[in-house]
Symmetry: C2
Subunit: 514 residues, 2 copies
Amino acid sequence: MKLIAEVLKITAGGKQIAIISEKSANSLGVHSSDRIKITYGSKEMIAITNVAVHFPQNRIGFYEEISKSLGIKGKETVTVELAEIPESLVHVRAKLRGERLREKEIKTIVEDVVERHLSEVEIAAFLTALNIYGLSISENEALSRVMVETGKKLDFGEGPILDKHSIGGIPGDKTSLIVVPIIAAAGFTIPKTSSRAVTSPAGTADRFEILCPVKLSNIEIKKVVKKTNGCLVWGGALDLAPADDLFIQVEYPLGIDPLLLPSILSKKKAIGATHVVIDIPTGRGAKIKNLTEAYTLASDFVEIGKRLKMNIQCALTFGEQPLGRAVGPALEAKEALSTIMGNGPDDLKEKAITLAGMLFEMVGLKNGRQKAHDIMQSGKAEKKLREIIGEQGGNPKIKPAEIVLGDKIGSIKATKSGIISRINNESIVRIAKAAGAPKAKGAGLILIKKLGESVKKNGTLLEIYAERNTKLKTALELANKLKPIVLNKKIEDQMLLDKIPKKISDQKQFILER
Amino acid sequence: MKLIAEVLKITAGGKQIAIISEKSANSLGVHSSDRIKITYGSKEMIAITNVAVHFPQNRIGFYEEISKSLGIKGKETVTVELAEIPESLVHVRAKLRGERLREKEIKTIVEDVVERHLSEVEIAAFLTALNIYGLSISENEALSRVMVETGKKLDFGEGPILDKHSIGGIPGDKTSLIVVPIIAAAGFTIPKTSSRAVTSPAGTADRFEILCPVKLSNIEIKKVVKKTNGCLVWGGALDLAPADDLFIQVEYPLGIDPLLLPSILSKKKAIGATHVVIDIPTGRGAKIKNLTEAYTLASDFVEIGKRLKMNIQCALTFGEQPLGRAVGPALEAKEALSTIMGNGPDDLKEKAITLAGMLFEMVGLKNGRQKAHDIMQSGKAEKKLREIIGEQGGNPKIKPAEIVLGDKIGSIKATKSGIISRINNESIVRIAKAAGAPKAKGAGLILIKKLGESVKKNGTLLEIYAERNTKLKTALELANKLKPIVLNKKIEDQMLLDKIPKKISDQKQFILER
């Protein structure tokens, strides 16, 4: 069938969608979501059909993605026909029936996700099935491998290439900002890519962006790493394992995370990592709730790492409260900078030194923890951090006090005296987001009191920072409602852990971060 | 945030989608697929966000669905804010975790599907989870009930209201065209709604449309039924259980059918049916492969019917070959008309009389089968069919020979003599569709030979009808490749049933019909 091209001057978010009339759809035997093959001159591509009732009969509407690929300006005549069902869809359907998929089958799926030959409906069904059935070790391995193959790679030459990653799930985790300079200061290569916040108040890229640009090109990254041994950059624009970003777009509204392992491991493999520490925050209020779960996940990480030729160690870390005291991009950057300068909270320092120490021992050093500690203590880590900041285009001399925080500040007081017995991570996340984080970079909160600390009646528990008064008010109201910090005379005072059924408004928010 | 409305002069297939720039999305804290609330004057609505890279910053793009609802022509200023996560999504996520849903939870989901507050991604995940976990009787019941509540109803007054439905899956099933007039001729009310083909070569609505219009308004339907006791109309535009049509749009590309029971039962309930026969074609090559499966499904139908206050009986029928000999809209209409006039294939006549007889006995008549037979034999059924055709706006005097068939005809011959031992329903479907059915109404095929019949070498097995030579050629080539009719000297000659693994091109096509 011949149709006349009409260019819609909008993008479809990367999706390759063409619009045809109901009449054309009937003539072609095409339903909405079916694939059509569009031919224009020597160019040919597959698009997913949207059938629109009032669309002119002899026309076909192209979003920018398609008109660009085909080099179409409008009014050209193109040939349109029903495309065959892609092989990948046959395998997606097999997964819906619970069948195990082999690497070559998974490869067709990932390729068609990247090529945009599978629709969001099909990707959603695939991910839902993976989430319900779970992935075998071989499926995790195959997904990791093909996600690397379908993207770009970064080559930092002769190994070892070190890396550190957290599976996420607790607020305020700014460990990478300290681990990277420690490792780099010891002369090892650690090209750290990270993500922005999806559902959290700050991602590592958001935090470091307070100190310097993080959106670097692949060439710029290589230059920074060559000079400093390390970097802390946003991975989103580097096209490393691009399938993962497309999967996350679909996982996010569903609150599922079936690809945790391949998502992380493909990105590590794509930068050529040889030695990786994976941080698994564990405990009530973290993504992984107990040690049993954590051990299972950790041994999968190690095994799949081995198959992908990466040496992996997992650190199961205490995850029942935020790390450090600051939550929100600027507040966290300030806390990380202070910590590397010697004035930070102990838990953050301890965790950074431990993880860096593990990496040192993985590459053969003795007393890794001591070495990491010494590098911090001697000021070499701070010097290295400032070097990286400078090379990435920031001000290497920045002082913690120069970091701009939200100037609308309020606080939550204790209504009685007691000892902090519980901090709800999820409520902390919601309050920091209500204050404006991560969009408002200066917004967030400071935990004045943490687990085990005592407070007097009317003593401050929490300080909230916002850039606008309305946001501050909303965050304070939410904090008063959620009561994220629980205190008791003694731990024994409160035996009740939870109530069933919950109210809908009590339902857990889902945390999807890498 | 205030944005200026831009009207995109295309529909989004009913979806309520608004397009905003990346910058606006960041300011609002909105990701693609998040919901936004749009306020214009006193009107307010929820839309699903598409984030487009090059969209003008101060604008918001509306597809026709939204601009119509809000009464917007373009250039108006609207207020946009992030909407809360709908309660239904909380329940969808619970289902992804395998939780059983209660009626009031299912109700929020179905309402939000109909209101277009859930995205296709969310609906796809919900249906995939239902397909994997299966539905409990109570979930089936609740879904049926809320699918009725969220749509229109047709009221035909004092009962009993009879109905007949096939779960589908075998080609050529034109039984309804004969059962409806038999029942109506006996003075019972039978307002039959049916669907068009989705993946088959003809739906009941496509078949009957050869004889008269089937797209009637609710008022017209009532008039026809008042005059004749029956009708055979397309249900698609009547807004009965509209959620079902939206679910089918998503199920279709996935090849899943988790809502078989509520889909059928909600449509029966919406027309006020009190006594329903459900036909379950059973056997290799049908949707239900064996009697064990069929009994389970049948007892679910009966139980859920009871809960919905409908008297249901299921007929498990032989499903290992097409019904009658004709496949394709016009060919089937012709065969049905001939059969009701006394000159049709025995299997079709037998099935129609049996099902009609079951309905008679359900409403208290004795010797139902005999009564159905007598009504056919006496010509009363034919008279009633012609009455219905006339009232629906067709020619009541139409003769079988006047029905226009495709005039490009080819045939498939036997390469040896023997007895027909197997007919592959799925291949028959593919060949009829390759010939042009259901779009080309005169296209399809005639099975010259059926199970147990003998054929000589070079005798005709199959006649293919098409409206265009290219289609005929494609269909003949496909028939020669697929060899849908298997013949043997004796049944014992072929012991091999199937080979594993199959080639991809051998994979089953999915049949989704109501």
